[in-house]
């Protein structure tokens, strides 16, 4: 059973909005898909998210954002991952992100963006697929 240990995923909210229903929903569906979710709660800074991701050895960081601060938050998170030699940790977003911003976010290194109304199945499949495709230094 240990040939495939569950992937570990960090889920947190960055910025000042406190609406965590989406983040909790995603935590729940990932748990039901057999993944281990480290949940950090609301109003986290990029520094906190990356520090937790490193200590917990996660495969991906999922950030829920409704405040419109996605460029600021994402660029800082990715910068910190680079500083820590941890660019194999995926970054994905959920929440309210305008369609027109997605290409630039992907260019910055965001693996996937999940907007409102997307199905649980699609989230799990897209995320697992992205993790599988990432050259991973984990064992």
């Amino acid at each position: 059973m240990h040939a495939s240990s569950p992937h570990r995923i960090l889920i947190g909210k960055a910025g000042l909005d406190g609406h965590d229903r989406g983040a909790k929903y995603v935590a729940h569906i990932l748990r039901d898909a057999g993944l281990e979710v480290i949940y950090t709660g609301i109003r986290r800074t990029p520094e906190e998210l990356v520090a937790v991701a490193l200590q917990e050895d996660v495969a991906a960081i999922g950030i829920s954002l409704l405040s419109g601060a996605h460029f600021t938050v994402v660029s800082r998170v990715i910068e910190l991952l680079k500083e820590n030699d941890a660019t194999d940790i995926l970054v994905f977003l959920g929440g309210i992100v305008p369609e027109s911003d997605i290409p630039r976010l992907r260019e910055m290194g965001v693996a996937c963006v999940f907007g409102p109304g997307i199905s649980a199945r699609v989230i799990v499949e897209t995320l697992l697929d992205a993790i599988e495709k990432t050259p991973h230094s984990s064992l």
């Binding site: 240990h2 040939a3 240990s5 569950p6 570990r8 935590a27 729940h28 990932l30 748990r31 039901d32 898909a33 057999g34 993944l35 281990e36 979710v37 480290i38 949940y39 950090t40 709660g41 986290r44 800074t45 520094e47 906190e48 520090a51 937790v52 490193l54 200590q55 917990e56 050895d57 500083e83 820590n84 030699d85 941890a86 991973h136 230094s137 984990s138 064992l139």
Partner: protein
Amino acid sequence: MTISLETLVGQARGNDAVATRAAAKLMSVLENEPQRLPEFLRAAGAETPQPRLILGITGAPGAGKSTFSDALIGEYRRRAPAQKIGVIAVDPSSPFSGGAVLGDRVRMMRHATDPHVFVRSLASRGQLGGLTLGVKGVLRVMGLIGADVVLIETLGVGQSEVDVARVADIVMVLLSPGQGDSVQLLKAGLMEVGDIIVINKADRAGADELHRQVLGALKLQQGTAKRSVALVSSTEKSGFEELLNRIEDHGALHPQRRRENDIGDIREAILEAARRRIIVRLKTEPTLHAALERVARGGEDAESLVQLLLKDGDAPST
């Protein structure tokens, strides 16, 4: 892809950006493959320190374990600012999906960017004994990176969780007001594991009465184990100075006991390695599988199968 444990051990001992990452990866290896503990010990060397003090924290859901851990970390950081502190927070895995939501960190986030605090969340993964061994591995890595005190937080509801608490030098059982009457205190289990019974949420109504009930219940207990009772409020951070004094007075297990535990860990690692190999062999070798079926139908004794498994050990690596 397998990274050598030696490389990771070397990186984890450093002070640069990759040190945290390497320590975290070592923890993952020893969580996923706890039978590799001896390999880690060889890579790290005999002089690698272990944490000076290991504190187990257990209690029912909602007793306030994570908030208590947060306050305890704060008190240790205040008292010994140069020392590192580790936290291992165990939450249950779903018996259906195998997944888990590990949420203990939410209450400890003020320490997230403190380089002197290393928090690792573990899912219980429904392992028989394996969880305990995995926790021991993570503890060794905590020692490697210089953690002085390590807190192990578990849900005090299952045998494996109670076992994890027993890994500690001192076990604290958290109780909080409003969780049942004094008859609950008589029931077997929780109260018996604790060296210190901590009444949490002292700021709430009913805490004093619970305190009296616990003292009364302890008087009824026979035997020599000395248990003490502490009253704290984790949200108001009161009572922690006295609690810390008591913890430090109590101190670590006797070095002899620790040495015995170390040998026990290796025994567990060897059993785990053997168990994994046997499972693979029973699944993949047709003759063994056929023998298994004969035993299941009552046509044969299991002893010959055991003999066969013990005799030739050239198993595929896991």
